[in-house]
């Protein structure tokens, strides 16, 4: 590995942090398409991957790059792509295929202000719901959301590991501000982090059933070309991998796929909180907004307001249990976000009316400031 342990503290850009973490986690394939503000990830990996014997390809479009990622993963390489809003929309078709056929992969979406071409170089948080429901049909997906360059490193490693362990597409949602910000990162050595691989078959090829899963719901995956000849299809399929439309088998598959996430929810839910022990008003925020919220909460505390911060680093599955617990003991939750109100809907759902939930939207392409959040905290 290129990460030398004698120079571990590094000044990295968010996108650079993501690329380096992916390499450390074992990603050896990247297919992408140029798009602001994520292009640095592709640029860095085009240089770094071949140094490690990996492969980089710039495909003809976003759809093709997602397809190539799934193909490479199927043939045994840990695979990733990176994009932004408009490209993320195009990736949804094959992201759904990966989710349904259970091919591990990581999709980085460095969000910008949407919709459409929007503000290509400005931050926005409008893709929270697209990350969850962007592709059609019920499907499992995991989305992680860092609030700093250092967290980007940590969560990128986790994204690769979760994708492999659960055989699910994992989306890393990033904010443009973090992608282009430079901060200190303590880069761990390879032996200091956990590196996961997809579960492998323990039976000989003639006994292999590609979609037969144990109690945890994750079937063993054989890479193409290793002697296990199997069939993948985007049609409903049974444990053998071949198409079926038998209602009982269809029901079984979709429930197992979604159950894979709920079964492992505890292991894949990462959160951060500050001053929550005696808080009467909580701020729930993610990404760059959590940074402003942290400062706002500290300023509020100086003014004697019992404010606290709860930051979901795992956005999907949504940390319902933690939010419900908070709602039961605070008077009010404030949800600042750089969209017209996506996170606030989830918070309201999880709070179940146990406290007041107030949204705060900023949609002008500028980040939410600590002062804005402080003003809302002072409103009580």
């Amino acid at each position: 590995m290129g990460n030398r342990c004698d120079t571990r503290a590094r000044l990295l850009q968010g996108n650079e942090s993501c690329a380096e973490a992916a390499l450390l986690a074992g990603v050896r394939f990247f297919a992408g398409y140029p798009i602001t503000p994520s292009s640095e990830i592709a640029e860095i990996l085009s240089e770094r991957l071949p140094q490690l014997g990996g492969k980089f390809i710039q495909m003809e479009d976003e759809i093709a790059s997602m397809a190539a990622v799934v193909g490479a993963s199927l043939a045994g390489m840990k695979a990733m792509t990176a994009t932004s809003g408009p490209g993320f929309s195009l990736k949804q078709e094959n992201l759904g295929f990966a989710s349904f056929t259970e091919v591990p992969c990581v999709i980085v979406n460095v969000q910008r202000t949407g919709p459409s071409t929007g503000l290509p170089t400005s931050p926005g948080q409008g893709d929270l719901m697209q990350a969850r429901w962007g592709t059609h049909g019920d499907h499992p997906v995991v989305a992680l959301y860092p609030s700093s360059v250092s967290e980007t490193f940590d969560l990128t490693v986790k994204a690769v590991n979760i994708a492999e362990r659960l055989r699910v597409p994992v989306i890393l949602l990033m904010d443009e501000v973090i992608a282009h910000m430079r901060e200190r990162v303590i880069v761990p050595c390879e032996d200091e982090i956990e590196i996961a691989w997809r579960p492998r078959p323990t039976v000989p090829p003639e006994e292999y059933q590609p979609y037969a899963a144990g109690p945890d719901g994750v079937p063993a995956m054989a890479d193409f070309g290793t002697g296990y000849r199997w069939h993948l299809t985007g049609l409903y399929h049974d444990v053998t991998g071949f198409p079926t439309s038998a209602p009982a088998k269809v029901d079984q598959l979709v429930r197992r796929l979604c159950g894979k996430i709920t079964n492992h929810k505890r292991d894949i839910t990462f959160t951060w909180d500050e001053h929550m022990d005696d808080a009467k008003v909580a701020v729930v925020a993610c990404g760059i907004v959590a940074r402003s919220a942290r400062r706002a909460v500290r300023l509020a505390r100086e003014k004697g307001i019992a404010a606290g911060l709860f930051q979901p680093k795992t956005i999907w599955p949504f940390p319902d249990e933690q939010v419900a617990e908070i709602a039961a003991r605070v008077d009010r939750i404030i949800v600042p976000e750089m969209n017209m109100g996506q996170l606030v809907g989830e918070v309201e759902r999880a709070a179940r009316g146990k406290c007041e939930v107030v949204g705060h939207s900023r949609v002008d392409g500028e980040p939410i400031t600590p002062e804005e959040i402080l003003a809302r905290l002072e409103e009580v």
Binding site: A31, K55, I63, A64, A67, G71, A72, A75, T233, F242
Partner: protein, 274 residues
């Protein structure tokens, strides 16, 4: 003596879903005979498809098989080939899947000279969705979405793929099964991108609506309407109009992408070592 093609079939799924008289079986047979002659180990063959009648073929084949999304087979195949260059990656696609929705992927795989063999099953129609016109439906023909006759011009896929930079381009019809199989065999062995257009017949949705007769009559028409590339070259363009030109259109030896990228890896490792 060549191997029997039976060992390549997942016979437990027979009968297949194709209509009686469909030419797809002949194309699949030609592909399997080519693989048998080449004696490729089953574990080293990967067949990838998109969506449509032709794209249902991989399900019947005892290889590493992947039935993907509409038009995207070549892009998936690109990822597979890059991750494991030892695999013989073969894409089966139809005229809708490969020439319409997947057209751009085809052009760019040919331009990159990616080590993928593509067989296009051209039956001139969208069969799976019951008979809409495709980019390969000849002008004037009827389809469910061209009730007054198709006003669009049909693509010459071999010209397109050749111009895009593939190392091998050929066309045959289901009336020329042995020739078709020979072309497929060459397409699999040649490094870089290789393309074979297999012109077939769809009696159910193309033949019936256009009153082209039953399956046998349609195959006979294909035979009668075909002309070799060599013979076509000696005729006036007007005389070739409406004919199916069959033969090998291009055999090149430009370096393939996989080979070129191996050079990138070498240079990158050298640069990193400095």
């Amino acid at each position: 003596m060549a191997r029997s093609i039976d060992e390549y079939l997942r016979t437990q799924f027979m009968p297949h879903i194709w209509c009686p008289g469909c030419g797809h079986g002949i194309i699949l047979n030609a592909l399997l005979r080519a693989i048998a002659r080449l004696d490729l180990p089953k574990d080293q063959v990967c067949v990838v498809s998109g969506i449509g009648c032709a794209s249902r073929a991989p399900g019947y084949l005892d290889f590493n098989t992947l039935h993907t999304t509409h038009g995207r087979a070549i892009a998936f195949a690109t990822g597979i080939k890059l991750a494991n260059p030892d695999l013989h990656v073969i894409v089966v696609t139809g005229d809708g899947d490969g020439a319409a929705i997947g057209g751009n992927h085809l052009i760019h795989a040919a331009r990159r000279n990616m080590g993928v063999t593509t067989i296009m099953f051209n039956n001139s129609i969208y069969g799976m969705t019951s008979g809409q016109y495709s980019p390969l439906t000849p002008s004037g023909r009827l389809a469910t979405t061209a009730p007054y006759g198709n006003v669009e011009r049909n693509f010459d896929m071999c010209e397109l793929v050749k111009a895009s930079g593939a190392n091998y381009v050929a066309r045959a019809t289901v009336a020329h099964a042995r020739q078709l199989s020979t072309y497929i065999e060459r397409a699999i062995t040649i490094p870089g991108f290789a393309f074979v257009e297999a012109v077939g017949n769809c009696p159910t949705y193309f033949g019936r609506r256009n009153k082209l007769g039953g399956p046998v009559e349609m195959v006979e028409t294909l035979k009668k309407n075909s002309i070799t590339a060599a013979a076509a070259a000696k005729l006036d363009p007007a005389e070739v109009q409406g004919k199916i030109i069959i033969g090998e259109f291009y055999r090149g030896d430009a370096p393939g992408y996989i080979e070129l990228y191996d050079g990138v890896i070498e240079r990158a490792k050298e640069a990193a070592g400095k």
